[in-house]
Symmetry: D5
Amino acid sequence: MANPKLIETFPNPAPQRDYVIEHTHHEFTSVCPITGHPDFAEITVSYVAEKNCVELKSLKLYFHAFRNEGIFFEAVTNKICDDLVAALAPRQLKVVSNWKGRGGMTSVVTAEMTPRAR
Amino acid sequence: MANPKLIETFPNPAPQRDYVIEHTHHEFTSVCPITGHPDFAEITVSYVAEKNCVELKSLKLYFHAFRNEGIFFEAVTNKICDDLVAALAPRQLKVVSNWKGRGGMTSVVTAEMTPRAR
Amino acid sequence: MANPKLIETFPNPAPQRDYVIEHTHHEFTSVCPITGHPDFAEITVSYVAEKNCVELKSLKLYFHAFRNEGIFFEAVTNKICDDLVAALAPRQLKVVSNWKGRGGMTSVVTAEMTPRAR
Amino acid sequence: MANPKLIETFPNPAPQRDYVIEHTHHEFTSVCPITGHPDFAEITVSYVAEKNCVELKSLKLYFHAFRNEGIFFEAVTNKICDDLVAALAPRQLKVVSNWKGRGGMTSVVTAEMTPRAR
Amino acid sequence: MANPKLIETFPNPAPQRDYVIEHTHHEFTSVCPITGHPDFAEITVSYVAEKNCVELKSLKLYFHAFRNEGIFFEAVTNKICDDLVAALAPRQLKVVSNWKGRGGMTSVVTAEMTPRAR
Amino acid sequence: MANPKLIETFPNPAPQRDYVIEHTHHEFTSVCPITGHPDFAEITVSYVAEKNCVELKSLKLYFHAFRNEGIFFEAVTNKICDDLVAALAPRQLKVVSNWKGRGGMTSVVTAEMTPRAR
Amino acid sequence: MANPKLIETFPNPAPQRDYVIEHTHHEFTSVCPITGHPDFAEITVSYVAEKNCVELKSLKLYFHAFRNEGIFFEAVTNKICDDLVAALAPRQLKVVSNWKGRGGMTSVVTAEMTPRAR
Amino acid sequence: MANPKLIETFPNPAPQRDYVIEHTHHEFTSVCPITGHPDFAEITVSYVAEKNCVELKSLKLYFHAFRNEGIFFEAVTNKICDDLVAALAPRQLKVVSNWKGRGGMTSVVTAEMTPRAR
Amino acid sequence: MANPKLIETFPNPAPQRDYVIEHTHHEFTSVCPITGHPDFAEITVSYVAEKNCVELKSLKLYFHAFRNEGIFFEAVTNKICDDLVAALAPRQLKVVSNWKGRGGMTSVVTAEMTPRAR
Amino acid sequence: MANPKLIETFPNPAPQRDYVIEHTHHEFTSVCPITGHPDFAEITVSYVAEKNCVELKSLKLYFHAFRNEGIFFEAVTNKICDDLVAALAPRQLKVVSNWKGRGGMTSVVTAEMTPRAR
């Protein structure tokens, strides 16, 4: 399973400000746990950093690690959300996965971290 | 008439979180109950799951079952909404049907389940 | 002048629910009352039905009846709004007319029925 | 029937050169001779002028004159081709009519004048 | 199997000219002969008429007759080509079928009648 | 300077209703007051009429009058807003000017009239 | 009238090769000689240089000089073709002018220099 | 390495006619042989069948078999061409691979079988 | 590092009104501080002016000054925000940087000035 | 000046076949030799390899080397053509540079190697 330890961070250059960082990976692919057929998605992560920002290349490698994993759309979206919240401890974070068509169906799953008390 | 028993479910992998799942079927077709001519639509279901998620292939087969049914745009949208609410008991659910042109007219029908008291 | 009696209705199949029905006519044409030149528009009607829904073919014929009428953009949009409110007694209704370019100008007129006290 | 005498001309400003003039009317409308329903098309005329060019406003009025004519796609395209060849005596002339969808069908009809011996 | 006798014709209004008529049906659907799943395509017929043109509404009904037929992409394209050549005896005729995605694959099949000796 | 007296009006056909009228001029051009180079913009005026509506052709001629004026983006947007408020005394009015690229920069300026006390 | 002397040149950096240079001016505007209303076009010049290339900024200023000229679509296209052939003595040259809509009509005029004997 | 034996065929339903079959796989992915990073492409195969057509699902599985292969753009395109020519013995066959951007570069490789003597 | 002193201003022509000015630079480029590879972005600045507006050409030159700077996406967005707030003392200001793809990832960073007490 | 020695090659995997390789760099930037302002282009190289193919990463670095060079559109296109012909000795090669707008003008320059005698 894709290891959250692949996610590296660097210090937020503007922690005094709530600003939004959004990264979209256009080439996410994993495998259907039932049929073994490949699935393809566009994954967007948007967040407000606290102390740390996610390093872009490490995020890409973390996404690549799903390439041969069998996992459902709903589960992978929640796992990415949980792994990034654990790695970044952000002020806010949202993950949107947008899945390409399979048999005339497309899907979008959107998960957001539970807001922290401030 | 398309049988709601075709709809299968699997356990929600993240019931602790309100997150949105959206499936769009791009190839819905039914039949006009008056003229017998085929109608074509794109149907989007978006919902917040409680205990169960809809299984994607069974949803497709449920939609396929309308292929030779004579039914109005307004009725089919409300039926899909009712059938999915019955099958999933979701926290929220919305159905949007977007109908292709017929004589220079296109139509969109949007039905949402009555919010549950929480 | 286009006769509102052309508008036919059928019983709302889901009166227990506030859901939105939207019809767009892509081929509306009337005539400029000053120059006599043809005008072209896309007309969208969206409404929440009470007891009755508008029958789609009759709506198209009602729109066709404007073909040789000389009438301003602002007046035709308000007339369609008034005629449909009279015919349907809906919970809500909005008309948007989107007019093609004439001399480098395009126009959009949006009229909504006065909300009813409930 | 739309009168070819509506077509006015002006002298070709560069008769020494074979160059191509193309006018597209985006708002052509006529009527189906069987059902009486309106038809809509985009008409493109492209030609190489000999002595005369077609005056743009008169071409528009000639097209407007089809507004309430009942005529088939194939016939109207050939009539426009014949009328313009008669009015302009051009070196070459082609008419393309591109008809909007009716019941899920769109059509394109393309007619070209018989090349003149030179 | 879709009956070629559904195809009706009317006399070519300009037999003295080789001009091209093209009809595109955007809502073709048939059924996969192996899986029974629905297939969707856009079918374009373009031809040069000899004595007869295809009547548009009959062409639509002929296409509708494939709705519940199990037939391969390659076979349906060649059958439409053969049926229309038999019905119209045209100077030229080409059929292009453009099939929507199924499992990340789209297909286009193009068949043309054998040119007649003239 | 473009004269606001060019703006003509006609009586609002539905003063009992707050409805929105929006006109977009796609071919606005003025001149940079520093370099003398032409500037090009799309100008959208949207308003809720009180007693009077702006007459469309007069609005076009008012816009044409800027053709050879040297004026900044910010100033022209505010002048149009002021001139139309003076001419129409509307319930609400907004002007958006959307300027084409110059040296890799595009600009949008949005000015709204101060809401009236009602 | 726009002065061809505005057109400046620089030496062709690769006269040993027939290669194609194409410049498109997206903001051409002149005036209708009959109505005085502004016309807008996109002008594309493509050519194979002999000894000289056209300097880009001077080409822009030459185009700007048409801003307040009353001139027909057909005449302006041929004049630009003639002026550039005179200024550049190119191996080949073509001018395409693509005019924005006026009353639902758009136009394209294409003029090419007479090929030189080589 | 992806095994050409995965490719299955069925008899050409219209061997008497030269017609074109084109399949596009939108979700091809392989691996860069140098960096190990994933590559993504759209692969189009178009051919004229002799005795056999390629079975669509087997073609998809053959493409899936490249998922974890390290192979260059140029090599994979030629291998697909060779494997399909070997499996189908077609009259003509062309393969186009269209690779998504990597560091601001996109690529297209097009290989065609050597025409057979007929 | 890009010098904020490059930013020039001119007096706000309508200080009595809160209106929005938005400039988008489509050709921003800087350098990745780790790899030295070029990065490309579209930068949008939108603000409500107090006493001064930013002069457009000086803004472009300020952006050009980043051409050979090594700087992260998050840092450059916050620096532009800070520099423009210092130069303009605006009522509101927001900066959005939209970064082109690198290895299948695109990014958007959005920073807004801390609202002033009024 | 960008050094052609940056261009690296690898052996053509299919020298027995004339097939086309096309690489497009979407992020080319150089500097105007007169004004010093940056220019941006999309550069497409398409060629038929003889013994060697261009290595993709080295091609990117070769393009990056123009970043701070002052050079005209016509000259840079011919230089890339000449450098690649020298490095690859291909059977055919074409370079197309497509330059972004500057003052309302866009440009495309297309240079092709002189065909070799075979």
